[in-house]
């Protein structure tokens, strides 16, 4: 862990050299302070020589992103993202609107083209490791008026395993039903999906990812627009996943709950502002760098930090 932090810091320094003039991103003053949270490491990394790209990433990381840049219509959305996910952790991806959080997940999944960079899942490219990755898209990304039941949607998580042109047999339906009951939705299996509440729809999506039995889960705002009970249920499942050694990356919006839900956090605003264990990285100054002058959000963060500190003591 210590090693990877060190490397992260040294890469940070390099990527800053490469990056465009910082005024473009409106974070000019923050650069040097990124590593302020890792002061013990910074001194060492300052002296360390440049390492050739590719050697610095541990090959067994559940998700390694190497110098990834993503652009829409020539406008960069993500710039030089470099990241190694620690295995068996709950990682929150936090940042303001338009920071590229969803784009990051989509680029990893090859749903949007990368302008440059490389992504590996346990040391191999994504297209060879699809089975290991579960994806929960944003709930709004689909038409919930579609004529399928909750069970049908969950069963879609098994389609890749079933393979081309074969029907969904009882075995897979049972697996889907088990996943539905794991999210507390077994009673709703036959409901048409438009008759479910927002929270229930989100649980169906989660169940579809669970039935994949993946090792790495990428979730795009799993807590968006869900009720309190669903949020609790989802958090419990995320913790179960982590305890079973799975790695979960989730885009998250509510700063208040970050310290409570996530062990690790990636602060993102078109580039990674900071990433690491929540208690080290989720600081007021890092949030200021991520969110700029959005004061109300900072207020939230202040509460969150107070709570986070109280929790950790």
């Amino acid at each position: 862990m210590h090693r990877s932090l060190k490397e992260e810091a040294s890469r940070d320094a390099r990527s800053h050299e490469r990056a465009e003039p910082s005024s473009e991103f409106g974070v000019a003053s923050s650069r040097v302070d990124v590593r302020g949270t890792q002061t013990t490491v910074t001194a060492a990394s300052a002296a360390s020589p440049r390492i050739a790209s590719g050697e610095e990433h541990p090959s067994n990381s559940p998700l390694s992103i190497h110098d990834m840049t993503v652009a829409y219509h020539r406008k960069p959305v993500l710039w030089d993202v470099d990241f190694d996910a620690p295995e068996g952790r709950l990682i929150g991806i936090v940042g303001p609107n338009g920071a590229g959080k969803s784009t990051l997940l989509k680029a990893v999944l090859e749903l949007v083209p990368k302008a440059s960079g490389r992504v590996t899942i346990y040391g191999a490219p994504y297209r060879r490791q699809r089975r290991l990755v579960g994806y929960v898209p944003q709930r709004e990304s689909v038409d919930w008026d579609f004529p399928v039941s909750a069970l049908d949607v969950v069963a879609m998580g098994t389609y890749a395993r079933i393979g081309w042109l074969r029907p969904v047999t009882r075995k897979y339906r049972d697996a889907a039903l088990a996943a539905l009951s794991r999210v507390g939705m077994a009673d709703y299996a036959d409901r048409q999906i438009s008759q479910l509440s927002g929270g229930q729809q989100q649980r169906v999506f989660l169940a579809r990812a669970l039935v994949q039995d993946a090792k790495v889960y990428l979730m795009d705002e799993p807590f968006a627009g869900v009720d309190a009970a669903t949020e609790k249920a989802i958090v419990r499942i995320l913790h179960d996943l982590r305890d079973a050694g799975r790695t979960v990356l989730a885009v998250h919006h509510d700063l208040q709950t970050v310290p409570e839900y996530f062990d690790h956090v990636m602060l993102l605003n078109m580039r990674i502002v900071a990433s690491g264990p929540t208690r080290d990285v989720f600081t007021r100054e890092n949030l200021q760098k991520t969110y700029g002058g959005r004061l109300t959000l900072l207020e939230q963060a202040a509460h969150a930090m107070a709570r986070g500190i109280a929790n950790s003591e």
Binding site: K106, E110, F146, V148, M156, Y159, L165, P167
Partner: protein, 499 residues
């Protein structure tokens, strides 16, 4: 592999039967109504049977019962060919149209069918140049297919290469290709090589001229489409529902979309001769749209769409056989449209009628619960045994005097309240028990909101009023376990805010 699709077919069939369940009798009724609608259409349109009549003859003349029976029961060979051909066309179009609609590509079918016209014209020109008759159907259909494909490619190209939206791209391609086709037809008219008459039938369709070979072609295309949709059922449904999830799982979007569009092209091109390129889109879109009112499941929706398409084809072709002046394509589309209107009104899933009844029932039940709660709370806060007056009830909630009186009347006939002294009302024993249940649910919910959702108690009442009626028994059970200690389960908890 061979066992796979067959097994699925039976699964879909069973699911459909289950899904139809209560709607089965309605479907039968619907079919009956369709026949009646179309028979009356033929009457209203001053139909005349037989071709010996002069064009000036506009006398209203209905076909005899025997003629109707002949056509409907397919006794005549020619009619049989035409009717079976159009039925199969409707079936295939309804089935693939369902996926087209769910993929939100309905208008793509329209652009596609319009884009076939220049292909037909060019094929004619090329074939006559090389000494052929120019009217060889396979040749014309090949031209149509090629240009249909080019049209779709143009739409995708315009959308991908520019930042124009899909509807703009569709509008451009549809009109430009159709214009090109019309110009080429003009060119053909001027050519001295043989007659071009008959090419226009691809625009409006000419069912009556269908030959056995055409019907066989349609049957083949419909069978291929149905088999294709059964085989790709799982893949298509995934792609239509959640494209990005499908792609993240490694399903090739382009290939699947290609297979789907190929089937659409095939059905469209085959259907040009029967219903014409302008109306073909209706057969792809209307039956699936109507089917959606009858089922919430994909399998049954596909089957019902196919069924509505087939019935439309059957009725349309029959009516046009009985009344030779009515073009079959138009009648087929109108039949499908009647099916759509009927489905919209009577559909068991999202029909207007069903929804209105549900809404009405919900309002009734909400009003009843409000009344019971108002009575119970009035008694609870110490109203005399004499009962509660109308004035007090009126003040308890924002409801009109008329609504309140209606509620009181219904509650009385349900035996939940009885008249007390001086125009006051009292809860009966049964009414009190019911009211206690309602109030208990309500307060459990309030407690839940107060303790779990950080909502100020003063804000809870309104929310709870709306939500408690949506709350099922299972949730109430859960709340009880959560909030009420075992010994107090039967007791109505006190309201968490001032009454």
């Amino acid at each position: 592999m061979s066992a796979g699709p067959g097994g699925r077919e039976s699964v879909i069939g069973a699911a459909c039967w289950r899904g139809l369940g209560c709607g089965r009798t309605r479907v039968v009724g619907l079919l009956g109504a369709l026949v009646i609608v179309c028979a009356s259409t033929s009457a209203a349109a001053q139909a005349s049977f037989g071709r010996s009549k002069s064009l000036a003859d506009t006398r209203l003349e209905l076909p005899s019962a025997a003629q109707v029976a002949d056509v409907l029961l397919l006794r005549e060979y020619n009619t049989r060919v035409v009717v079976i051909g159009t039925m199969l066309l409707g079936l295939g179009a309804g089935v693939i149209g369902t996926f087209l609609l769910l993929r939100k590509r309905a208008l793509m079918g329209d652009a596609l069918s319009h884009a076939t016209l220049p292909g037909i014209a060019l094929a004619f020109i090329v074939m006559t140049r090389f000494g052929g008759s120019g009217k060889s159907l396979p040749g014309l259909l090949l031209g149509a297919t090629i240009f249909g494909g080019i049209g779709v490619a143009c739409v995708l190209l315009i959308r991908g290469a520019t930042r124009l939206k899909e509807d703009t791209a569709l509008g451009i391609v549809l009109s430009v290709f159709f214009g090109l086709g019309v110009s080429l037809l003009g060119v053909i008219q001027k050519m001295d090589t043989g007659s071009a008459a008959g090419l226009e039938s691809f625009i409006y369709g000419k069912t009556a001229s269908m030959l056995v070979s055409d019907a066989k072609l349609i049957a083949g295309a419909a069978a291929l489409t149905v088999v294709g949709c059964v085989v790709f059922y799982k893949e298509f449904s995934l792609l239509c529902f959640d494209e990005s999830f499908a792609r993240s799982q490694g399903w090739p979007r382009l290939l699947l979309d290609g297979v789907m569009m190929a089937m659409v092209v095939m059905i469209t091109v085959i259907g040009l001769g029967a219903v014409g390129l302008i109306l073909m889109i209706a057969l792809l879109v209307i039956p699936p749209a109507a089917a959606r009112f009858w089922s919430h499941r994909l399998g049954p929706t596909v089957l019902i769409a196919g069924g509505i398409g087939a019935v439309s084809g059957w009725v349309g072709a029959s009516v046009s056989a009985l009344a030779a002046r009515l073009p079959a394509g138009a009648i087929i589309v109108l039949t499908a449209a009647s099916a759509f209107v009927l489905s919209m009104i009577f559909g068991v899933r999202r029909g207007v009628l069903v929804r209105a009844v549900e809404q009405w029932r919900l309002r009734r039940s909400v009003a009843r619960q409000h009344l019971l709660r108002a009575m119970y709370e009035a008694e609870e806060s110490g109203a005399a045994a004499a009962g509660v007056g109308e004035g007090a009830l009126l003040r308890a909630r924002t409801w009109s005097r008329r609504a309140l009186r209606g509620g009181l009347r219904r509650a009385r006939s349900a035996g939940e309240i009885e008249p007390g002294d001086a125009g006051r009302w009292r809860l009966t024993e049964a009414g009190r028990a019911a009211a206690a249940r309602v109030v208990r649910n309500h307060r459990l919910w309030e407690l839940y909101l107060v303790t779990h959702a950080d909502i100020a108690p003063s804000h809870v009442d309104r929310d709870a009023d709306e939500l408690e009626h949506v709350l099922g028994a299972a949730m109430v059970e859960e709340l009880e376990l959560l909030l009420v200690r075992d010994e107090s389960r039967a007791v109505v908890p006190a309201s968490p805010h001032a009454l």
